[in-house]
Amino acid sequence: MKTEQFNAFAIAQQQIDHAAEKLELDDATHELLRWPMRELKATLPVKMDDGTTRLFHAFRIRYNTARGPAKGGVRWHPQETMDTVRALSAWMTWKTAVVDLPLGGGKGGVVCNPKELSETEKERLARAYVRAIAGSIGVTKDVPAPDVYTTPQIMAWMMDEYETILGENHPGVITGKPLALGGSKGRQDATARGGVYVTREAAATAGIDLKGAPMAVQGFGNAGMNAALLGEEILGLKLVAACDSKSGVYNPKGISAAALVEYKIRTGAVKGFPDADEITNGEILGLPVTVLFPAALENVIRADNAESLKCRICCELANGPTTPEADAILDQKGIIVLPDFLANAGGVTVSYFEQVQNAYNLYWELQEVHWRLDQRMTQAFSSVHEMSLRNKSDLREAAYLVAIARVAEACKLRGWV
C-alpha cells in the first residue's frame, strides 16, 4: 500500500518507527502497528433539498482493536482524505492506550463542505453514512463520536439510524450524544479537567507549589475557559492572562476566571475586559507564569518563540501546539511539557464513560464522572512519568512508549504477532 509523501499518516508512521526502535519491538509487531487493521471506504448517495442526488465519499477506519472496540470521531471536512483519517485513527489508538481505556483507535470522515449543506441535508448525510458503515460499527466493534464539524445533534441522528436498522436500542453505538439521549454528564469540561488533573500530578512530582501561582491561557474557547475556571478551582492557580484569536488581557495581580468567562461569552471576546492590560497572542507565551495552557491551535510554540517561554509547566490542551523543534528547546529549558494526547485525553475518557453508562443503562452523577476521570488521568500520568524516568525521555516520548507498548502487548497476547 502506498501513501502520499509528507502527509499526516507518514508522520504518524515515523512516530511509531521511533517508538518501535526505543521499545525494541520485533519487526512483525512494528509493521502491524504501522498500518490500520480495517479500512472502509463508502460512496453515499444523498438526496438534496432541491431533489437532486449528490454523492459523498466517506471513510471509517479501525486502526487497531487489540485493546478493545475502536473509538474515534467522525470528521466532516471538504479536504478529508484517507491518509488524514488513517493518521488520526492511529493517534486515537495511542490516546486510548495511554489513559489505559479498554478501547482501540478509529476515525471516520466524510468529504463534504458543511457550509453548503442545510440541516435536513446534514441529517440525510448522517443517516446515509451510518447505513454505509452500520455493519462495521457497534458497541463491540467501533464507536464513533463527534469531531470536526460534527455535533451532538448529528450523533443523535446517527444513533437513531443505527437503532432503526437493528430494530433495537443501542445508545452506546455512538458517544457525544445529547444528555437526553444517553450522553454523559461532565463531558463539557472533560478535556480541560483531564488537563488540570495531570498538571496537578506533574506539579506534585516536580515539587512545584501551585497555590496562588500564576497561570496563562492561550486560546479562550471551550477548553481554555474551563482550564481557567478549573485551574483556579482545583489547583488554586491565579489566572493572570488569557487571549483569544483577536487579542489578550493581562493583569499580574490576577483576573477572576469566572468574570472573564462571563465577559467572553457575553461579548464574544476577551478584549476590553476591565482592569487588565491588552496583550498580544505572542506576548502571552512569554509571561512569567507557573502554568501555561496552550488551548487554541497547532504550532503556536515554535523554534522562533520557544526561547521566550518562562512557564514551569506547559499543559497542551490543544492538539499539536508545540513543533518538534520547539519541543527540544523547551526540554532544554527544563519546562515540563504535558503532551497533547495525554493532557487532552479527558475528552475520550468521558466518551468511554458514556459507553459504560449506556451499556449498564445506569447513569452516574457528576461527582462520579469527576472522580473516575481523576483516577484515570492520575494513573495515566504516573505511568508516563515512570516511563520517562525509566527511559530518560521527555513526557511526550514516554507517553508514546507507554501507549505503543500497551497496544503491542495486547497484540502479542492475542497471538497476532
Binding site: S118, Y149, G268
Partner: protein
C-alpha cells in the same frame, strides 16, 4: 325561436311567481328613473345574447298582446308593451342576483361617465374627483364590471393624479391597482386645505406592492391573505410641504439645490434650524391633532415619500430622513412631537446628500416635492421598548452566494432582530443574518463559535419612555422577551453545542444565546412566503425588487418595495483567459455580482497598515475626508478606490468612514482584509450604501490578501509614485491616501477589472487600453467616468 317566445308569452309559462318577480324588478328600476331606458336596453341585450329573445319576436309578442287587450297597435303602444315584456322576460329567465348585478352595472357606467368627465375637465378639484370616485365605489361590487379596456384611461388618470405620474410606475400600477383600490387609498390620504399634491414614490411603491401581493380580484393567494399585511399607513400629500414653505415665506429654499455643494453643506444646519423654528398653520396643526387622536398612542414612523423617491432606477435609498416617534401620552405633546418629526423629514429635501444624489442622476431640475408616509410601527411593547421580532430587507436577486448551490433568482434576506434600521444601514462590528432563500438555513459559518461571532450583537429599539431610537445589546433583550418569541430568534449553547431551542417553552440559557433566527426560518412560513412574494413582485415589475419587511407575532408586514436598476445585476462577464501573471494586481474569490470595468486611469489607495497605525478617532475620520477630496478632484476620470476593512462603516476601527458622496466618482470600491486592520469585508448587500453602489455603477470588490492563492501586489500600491500634485498643485501628498496614475506607472497601461460571480472569481490586471481606437485614449478624453444613463425602464 319565435315559437319559444310565443310559448313564453302564453299563460302556461308565465306563472304568477314571474309576475311577482317582474313587479319587484320594476320597483327596483324605479329607484333610478333616469336610468330606466339604459337598464332595459341592457336587459334586452342580455336576453338577446343568450338567445332568449330577438327584436322581431318581441315586437310580435307586443302586437299580439295589444290585440288581446283590444287596444290599437301603434308604435307608441308597441314601445310601451315591449318595455314591460323585457322586464317580465328578464325576471322570468334570470335570477334576482342577476337583476341586481345588471342594474348596478348601469349605475357604475353612469358614475364612471361622471368620473371621466371630471378627469378630463381642466381645473376639477381633487375633492370633487374623490367624491365622484367614492360614489362609484359606493355601488356594490357585484360580479359585473366595466371592462378593463374601458376603465384603463380613468384608472391611469386617477393614479397619476393622486399617486404618481412616473411612467414606469404607471406602466406597472395600471395592471394591478383597481379603481376601488384607489378609493381605499384615498381614505388614507390626508390633504392640505390649500395645496394639492400627490402621495409620493415610496408610498406609491408600497401601495403598488400591496396590491400586487394582495389583489382584490384575480390571482388571489390564500397563504398571502393569511399571513401578509401592510402596516396601517397614512399619506400626507406633497401639498403640506408647499403650504408650509409658503406660509412661512420659505419658498426661496427651492433654489437651494442650484448652489455649489460646499455652500449647500455649510447652509444645511442653518436651514434645519429655520425649518424647525417655522410653524405649521393652525388649521394644519388641527389636522395633525385629529389624525393622532384617530391613530391612538401607537409608535409611528414618519417616512419621506418624495415624488422622485423609489421610482424605478432611483431608489434615493437613505437620502431622505425617516423619523420614529413614540407617540405616547398627552395629545398636545404628541402633536408637537409629530410636527417636529415632520419638519425634520421635510428638511431633508435640502440636505447635501439628497441634492448631490439628484445632481448625479440628472434630476436636479425636477421640482422635487416631499410627501410624507406615516405608518404605525410594526412591533410590540416589551417593557419600555418597542420593536418587532424581525425586520430587514429582502432582495429578489441573490448576489451573495458563497456556494454555487445557492439559487440566485430565489432571493436573499438581510434580517435583523428588532427594528430594521440595522439592516438598511451599514452597521459597525455587527452582522445581520443573511438568508439565501433557496436554502434558508445555509450559512457560511459552521462552528458554533463562528456562528456566534458573525451574529447580531446590537438591536435597534424604540424607547417609549425617552421617545428615542436606542441601540442596546441583544443579550439585554433576551431576558425581557417572553416565550415564544425568543424561541424563533435565538440559538443557545446546550451541552457545549449551539442549537436552536427545541420547544417554545424551553428555558433558554440567555448568556450564551445569539441571534440566528433558525426556528423562525425553519418553523414558520416566513422564508417560503418572502420567496414567493419576491417572485411575484419581480414578475410584476419586470425587474429585480427590494422589499423592506417586518415579521411580528406570526404576520409578515411589507413596509416598502423598490424596483432596482437591473443593469448591474445581471451582466455576464468572462474573465480573459490569457492574462500575464506579472500584470495581475489583485485577485479575489468572492464576487457579489459580475462586472467589468475597463481602462481605469487612477488608483486611490488607502494604505491599510498606515491606517491601522493611526491612533486617534479624529485622524481616522480625516482619512475619510481626504478620500472625499480626492474623489472630487478626480471628477471626470476613471478611478478605483482601495482601502482596509469595510468602506462606509460608521465605526472607524472597522474601515474608513465615508459617505456615498465621498466615493461617488469611483468605479471600483475595493475592501482589503488585512489582519488587525479594520474588519473583514462584509457584504453590504441590502444596505442603503449597497444600493448607492449599484445605482451609481460602482463595483464592490473584496480582497483577502492572506487567503491561499490570492494575489495582491502590495508593492505596486505602496511604491508607485503619488501623483496628487499633478491633479492639484496646491494639494499636499498624504502618506495614507495615495493617488496613483496607473498609465504613468505601467508603461501606458490601465487597470482592467473583471469579476465573474458565477465562477466566484475576480481579477484586476494591467493591460493596454481596451476601448476602440476610434474612441480615443483616456488621456485625450477625460470624461471617462462612464456617465451611462441609468436604465430607468422608461419607454
Amino acid at each position: 325561436m319565435a315559437q319559444k317566445q310565443k310559448e313564453g308569452f302564453s299563460s302556461q309559462n308565465i306563472g304568477s311567481t314571474d309576475l311577482v318577480r317582474a313587479y319587484r324588478l320594476h320597483e327596483q328600476m324605479l329607484k333610478y328613473p333616469h336610468l330606466m331606458g339604459e337598464i332595459r336596453d341592457l336587459f334586452f341585450s342580455v336576453l338577446k345574447k343568450r338567445d332568449l329573445l330577438d327584436a322581431e319576436s318581441l315586437r310580435g309578442d307586443a302586437a299580439l298582446l295589444l290585440e288581446a287587450l283590444g287596444e290599437p297597435v301603434d308604435e307608441q303602444a308597441i314601445k310601451q308593451i315591449t318595455g314591460i315584456l323585457i322586464d317580465v322576460y328578464f325576471a322570468h329567465h334570470l335570477s334576482w342576483e342577476d337583476v341586481e348585478n345588471h342594474i348596478n352595472l348601469v349605475r357604475k357606467r353612469e358614475a364612471f361617465r361622471t368620473l371621466t368627465r371630471l378627469m378630463n375637465s381642466e381645473g376639477a378639484a381633487s375633492a370633487r374627483i374623490g367624491k365622484a370616485l367614492k360614489e362609484f365605489c359606493a355601488i356594490p361590487r357585484g360580479s359585473l364590471f366595466i371592462r378593463p379596456g374601458e376603465s384603463m384611461g380613468v384608472r391611469v388618470g386617477l393614479l397619476s393624479r393622486f399617486i404618481s405620474d412616473q411612467l414606469p410606475f404607471l406602466g406597472v400600477a395600471k395592471n394591478h391597482i383597481a379603481m376601488r383600490d384607489i378609493d381605499e387609498l384615498m381614505d388614507r390620504i390626508i390633504r392640505n386645505p390649500r395645496r394639492e399634491g400627490r402621495i409620493g414614490g415610496k408610498a406609491a411603491g408600497m401601495f403598488l406592492a400591496y396590491k400586487i401581493i394582495l389583489p382584490a380580484l384575480a390571482d388571489r393567494d390564500p397563504e398571502f391573505e393569511k399571513y401578509v399585511r401592510i402596516p396601517e399607513s397614512y399619506y400626507f400629500t406633497s401639498g403640506f410641504l408647499t403650504d408650509f414653505l409658503d406660509t412661512n415665506n420659505l419658498f426661496w429654499l427651492h433654489s437651494q439645490k442650484y448652489k455649489n455643494l460646499e455652500t449647500i453643506e455649510e447652509e444645511f444646519t442653518q436651514i434645519c434650524e429655520t425649518i424647525q423654528r417655522a410653524s405649521f398653520p393652525a388649521d394644519v396643526v388641527a389636522q395633525f391633532r385629529d389624525f393622532l387622536q384617530k391613530t391612538g398612542e401607537h409608535p409611528l414612523i414618519i417616512r419621506s415619500s418624495s415624488l422622485l423617491e423609489d421610482n424605478v432606477g432611483y431608489t434615493f435609498s437613505g437620502k431622505y430622513d425617516s423619523v420614529f416617534i413614540a407617540n405616547q401620552g398627552d395629545l398636545e405633546l404628541r402633536t408637537a412631537e409629530f410636527s417636529t418629526g415632520l419638519k425634520q423629514v421635510l428638511a431633508s429635501v435640502f440636505s447635501p446628500r439628497a441634492i448631490l444624489y439628484r445632481k448625479d442622476h440628472n434630476l436636479l431640475d425636477f421640482d422635487e416635492r416631499m410627501s410624507i408616509l406615516v405608518q404605525k410601527v410594526v412591533g410590540r411593547r416589551y417593557g419600555d421598548y418597542f420593536f418587532p421580532t424581525a425586520a430587514g430587507v429582502a432582495y429578489s436577486q441573490n448576489m451573495y452566494g458563497w456556494t454555487p448551490r445557492i439559487v440566485r433568482t430565489d432571493g436573499l434576506l438581510r434580517m435583523v432582530f428588532g427594528l430594521g434600521t440595522r439592516a438598511v444601514e451599514r452597521i459597525g462590528p455587527d452582522y445581520p443574518r443573511m438568508v439565501p432563500l433557496s436554502h434558508p438555513l445555509l450559512r457560511p459559518e459552521v462552528s458554533g463559535e463562528d456562528i456566534k461571532k458573525y451574529s447580531q450583537k446590537l438591536v435597534d429599539v424604540l424607547d417609549l419612555k425617552s421617545n428615542s431610537l436606542e441601540t442596546i445589546p441583544a443579550t439585554e433583550l433576551f431576558e425581557s422577551i417572553t416565550s415564544p418569541d425568543l424561541y424563533y430568534i435565538v440559538s443557545a449553547e446546550k451541552e457545549g453545542h449551539l442549537a436552536a431551542p427545541l420547544f417554545k417553552t424551553e428555558k433558554i440559557e440567555t448568556l450564551s444565546a445569539c441571534v440566528t433566527f433558525d426556528n423562525l426560518l425553519s418553523k414558520t412560513v416566513l422564508a417560503g412566503l418572502l420567496k414567493r412574494i419576491l417572485h411575484r413582485l419581480e414578475q410584476a415589475c419586470g425587474r429585480p425588487v427590494e422589499v423592506e419587511f417586518a415579521w411580528d407575532d406570526g404576520l409578515l408586514y411589507v413596509l416598502q418595495c423598490r424596483a432596482l436598476a437591473a443593469s448591474a445585476l445581471v451582466e455576464k462577464v468572462s474573465i480573459p483567459e490569457e492574462i500575464d501573471p506579472q500584470e495581475v494586481l489583485f485577485t479575489c474569490t468572492s464576487v457579489l455580482y459580475s462586472s467589468q470595468v475597463e481602462d481605469i486611469e487612477y488608483i486611490v489607495y488607502v494604505d491599510p497598515q498606515a491606517y491601522g497605525a493611526i491612533a486617534t478617532f479624529e485622524e481616522r475620520l480625516a482619512v475619510g475626508h481626504a478620500v472625499g477630496k480626492v474623489n472630487r478632484l478626480l471628477e471626470g476620470r476613471t478611478y478605483a478606490l482601495f482601502g482596509p476593512g469595510r468602506w462606509g462603516t460608521n465605526d472607524v476601527k472597522m474601515g474608513v468612514k465615508i459617505s456615498y458622496e465621498d466615493i461617488n466618482r469611483t468605479r471600483v470600491l475595493a475592501e482589503i482584509a488585512v489582519k488587525d486592520v479594520g474588519a473583514s469585508p462584509e457584504p453590504s448587500l441590502g444596505t442603503h450604501f449597497f444600493n448607492d453602489l449599484v445605482e451609481a455603477n460602482i463595483v464592490p470588490v473584496a480582497i483577502y490578501p492572506e487567503s491561499p492563492g490570492t494575489v495582491f501586489r502590495e508593492d505596486f500600491f505602496k511604491n508607485s509614485p503619488d501623483c496628487i500634485a499633478s491633479l492639484d498643485p496646491h494639494a499636499r501628498a498624504n502618506p495614507i491616501v495615495r493617488v496613483i496614475n496607473v498609465a504613468a506607472c505601467s508603461e501606458g497601461r490601465y487597470l482592467q477589472v473583471y469579476l465573474d460571480s458565477e465562477l466566484q472569481k475576480g481579477v484586476g490586471f494591467l493591460g493596454p487600453c481596451r476601448r476602440s481606437r476610434f474612441a480615443g485614449s483616456p488621456q485625450k478624453e477625460p470624461g471617462q467616468r462612464k456617465k451611462e444613463p441609468i436604465d430607468t425602464g422608461r419607454p
